[in-house]
């Protein structure tokens, strides 16, 4: 499933679970490339077409 995710932060990865954040885009009708998170902070977010892992946390992007 294609979605916008916050780029993975591998801090303290060893032995721990890494947070996986998905940008909330349910109400977004334009292409994901035009979503503010990608437009404003492409260094933090990326569009991927992967399965969203269970218990992923959500970000309601609101600047």
């Amino acid at each position: 499933m294609i979605h916008i995710r916050q780029k993975l932060d591998l801090t303290n990865k060893v032995g721990n679970i890494i947070a996986y954040s998905v940008v909330y885009t349910k109400d977004w009708t334009l292409p994901l490339e035009q979503h503010p998170s990608i437009v404003e902070h492409p260094e933090n977010f990326e569009i991927v077409d992967e399965e969203i892992p269970a218990h992923a946390q959500t970000l309601i992007y609101n600047n």
């Binding site: 932060d9 303290n12 721990n16 890494i18 998170s37 946390q57 959500t58 309601i60 609101n62």
Partner: protein
């Protein structure tokens, strides 16, 4: 007809008047040979004859009569007093006559004095001797004297001692009580040998036990032939044939004592030293504990030995002494061994009864009350089965096999018969304290004995136990003043203890406004758990990196308390976070009027910070709200107002569950 009757009466009167008027007379019979019916008279008078005792006919019974029994050649006479009696019977004396003042009887040509008449004074006759009576054939059927050709016997056949007799003949005098003597034995004196013996058959000498000594007065036990005691009337001994025991009958000299001079003979001997007398020197040497002197001082008795006076005992006056040592050190008891085997030294015994005025004992063990509660003491010396001996009930006992123990060991009655152990018994074995090991040694062990029997609970004075069963407890009866065993369920008011066990996740409580039986209330408390439900941040960058999310919660009644912590390795830039209530938490109850989605149900406390030690300077708003977009429908929100960098979130909230 009437005329005939008158004629007949006239005729009868004529005959009757003639018979009365005719005088009595005898008609002379001048010729020889007259015969009447049953009487003949000629040269002789033939009287009536019978075969056997005569009988009378007609009305002549008032007159005397004679008749002869021709069959038995006997002459009978008759009178009205004696009726028919034989003339000249041997039962009768021939004649009786009076001479001077005495009456004599004559029979068979012998005249015998019978008795004096009432005038008295006696006559030439004298009272007959016993011999005269016996010679005359006198017999007495009650207290009789019976003579025979070889034996004269005096015997009593009446009341009292019956069938007892004294028999005398030319060779012996026998005394016997035949009514009580079941084997017909009797005491027999041999006139020829002066021997007095007991025999088994009257006048039968075959069982006589001869001793070969003509001058022995011998007593023999009947029927056994192996026991007799004889006295040599001419010799110096009294002899027994059982073991050949001789006892001197001759007197010794002054000061002599009887001494066993041979295995079979006692003899008089001097009692001083030397010869066959007592060896008092060696006896004295053997008695090395003798004291030198005794004295009484004040109320006590002292003994002098080895130059020192030692207190012995108080006299009857009592009162004590400052140096007195009148305390018994060892208490012993004489007992009877009631077991079938020898009681060994050192075995533990208990009181089992009594025998022959002595207490009986058996081996004790701690397996049951009957063999332990009456533990008495320790055997001092071996006691053979059925014999008597001594045990120590308190004090020292020595020469025990105590090598397996250590000096100072406390000894208890063991489960093995008669044994003790240094291991304290554990119930149901009975704890009986026996004493302490004073010296641990095999063969020379020393133990201080002081048995102390334990008590069962039911043996206490104020406890009454009847029929013990499971789940009983002791309760006190104020009326009977004793503790008694009762079922716990009959004593406790189970209506106030509705359950012995509680449902899962519950406590008992009274959730009413009055006294009432408690009811089960919800009680849950969980430790730290990993949080893994939905988290939604609002901002421009989520906290990231390694996560460590946890929560814990509890519930008492309907009140739920939740404490939740989220930690990330890296800060995010956020203003709010929504945290779905964890799986398993009770569903909150919605306050009236706050039932719409996103309505805030209640507030809590919490914060968001960027470091573990930093203190938040921003007031955080924490609340619980309904969010039907979530799986669990409710979330906790921490709102900071403006976005900032945070990586740690913490919230505590209480709510009421449905």
């Amino acid at each position: 007809m009437e005329m005939y009757k008158k004629i007949l009466i006239a005729i009868l009167l004529c005959f009757g008047g003639k018979a009365i008027a005719q005088p009595s007379q005898y008609t002379p019979m001048t010729a020889n040979g007259y015969q009447m019916k049953r009487v003949k008279v000629d040269s002789t008078l033939h009287i009536p004859s019978f075969c056997g005792v005569p009988t009378l006919r007609g009305s002549t019974s008032s007159m005397g009569a004679l008749a002869i029994d021709t069959c038995n050649n006997k002459l009978y006479k008759y009178n009205t007093e004696f009726e028919w009696t034989e003339v000249g019977s041997s039962d009768f004396i021939d004649t009786i006559f009076r001479r001077s003042d005495s009456v004599f009887a004559k029979k068979n040509g012998i005249t015998l004095f019978q008795f004096k008449d009432s005038v008295g004074g006696g006559g030439p006759g004298t009272t007959p001797t016993l011999q005269e009576v016996l010679t005359a054939g006198s017999t007495v059927t009650s207290n009789n004297i019976i003579t025979g050709t070889t034996t004269t016997r005096i015997r009593q056949l009446g009341s009292g001692i019956k069938s007892a007799s004294l028999s005398i003949d030319t060779t012996q005098i026998a005394l016997v009580n035949q009514s009580t003597n079941t084997n017909n034995s009797f005491l027999w004196l041999n006139p020829n040998t002066a021997q007095l013996s007991a025999k088994s058959n009257a006048l039968d000498q075959t069982n006589y036990v001869g001793n070969g000594l003509s001058s022995i007065l011998q007593f023999t036990r009947i029927p056994s032939t192996s026991r007799s005691l004889g006295v040599d009337v001419n010799g110096p001994f009294m002899q027994s044939n059982a073991g050949q025991f001789y006892f001197p009958l001759t007197l010794g000299t002054t000061g002599q004592i009887l001494k066993l001079t041979s295995p079979t003979q006692l003899a008089w001997a001097d009692d001083s030293s030397g010869g066959s007398s007592i060896d008092t020197t060696s006896l004295s040497n053997r008695i090395d504990s003798k004291i030198d002197s005794l004295k009484r001082s004040s109320d006590s008795v002292y003994a002098y030995k080895n130059g020192q006076w030692n207190f012995q005992f108080k006299d009857s006056v009592g009162g004590g002494s400052s140096v007195a040592n009148d305390t018994a050190k060892v208490v012993i008891a004489k007992v009877h061994n009631a077991t079938g085997t020898t009681l060994q030294r050192g075995e533990v015994v208990y009181l089992s009864g009594a025998n022959g005025d002595v207490a009986s004992v058996k081996r004790a063990n701690n397996k049951q009350d009957s063999t332990s509660s009456k533990t008495f003491g320790i055997v001092r010396r071996n006691i053979a089965a059925g014999d008597t001996g001594y045990i120590t009930t308190q004090g020292q006992i020595e020469k025990l096999n105590l090598g397996a123990f250590t000096s100072g060991d406390i000894l208890w009655l063991d489960s093995i018969d008669g044994q003790f152990t240094n291991v304290v018994p554990v119930a149901p074995y009975h704890s009986v304290f026996l004493g302490v090991v004073e010296r641990a040694n095999n063969g020379n062990g020393l133990m201080y004995v002081k048995p102390q029997n334990g008590y069962e609970l039911g043996e206490l004075h104020d406890v009454q136990i009847n029929g013990k069963v499971n789940n009983q407890i002791l309760v006190y009866s104020d009326t009977q003043k004793v503790w008694k065993n009762r079922s716990a369920y009959t004593v406790i008011d189970t209506t106030k203890l509705q359950q012995k066990s509680l449902p899962a996740y519950s406590i008992m409580g009274n959730n009413t406004n009055a006294a009432a039986n408690p009811t089960a209330q919800i009680f849950k408390q969980f430790g730290n758990q990993t949080y893994s439900d939905s988290i939604t941040f609002t901002g421009t960058l989520n906290p990231s990196g390694a996560i460590n999310h946890s929560f814990r919660w509890s519930q008492i009644g309907n009140l739920v308390t939740l404490h939740l912590t989220l930690t990330f390795a890296s800060n995010g830039t956020i203003s709010q976070v929504g945290i779905e209530i964890p799986d398993g938490l009770p569903i909150p109850i919605l306050p009236t009027g706050l039932i719409a989605n996103n309505d805030i149900i209640c507030y809590g406390t919490g914060f968001m910070v960027s470091t573990t030690t930093g203190v938040s300077t921003v007031f955080s708003k924490v609340f619980l709200r309904q969010n039907t977009g979530l799986t669990n429908d409710y979330e906790i929100v921490i709102n900071q107002g403006i976005a900032s960098t945070y990586r740690i979130m913490n919230a505590t909230i209480q709510y009421f569950a449905q």
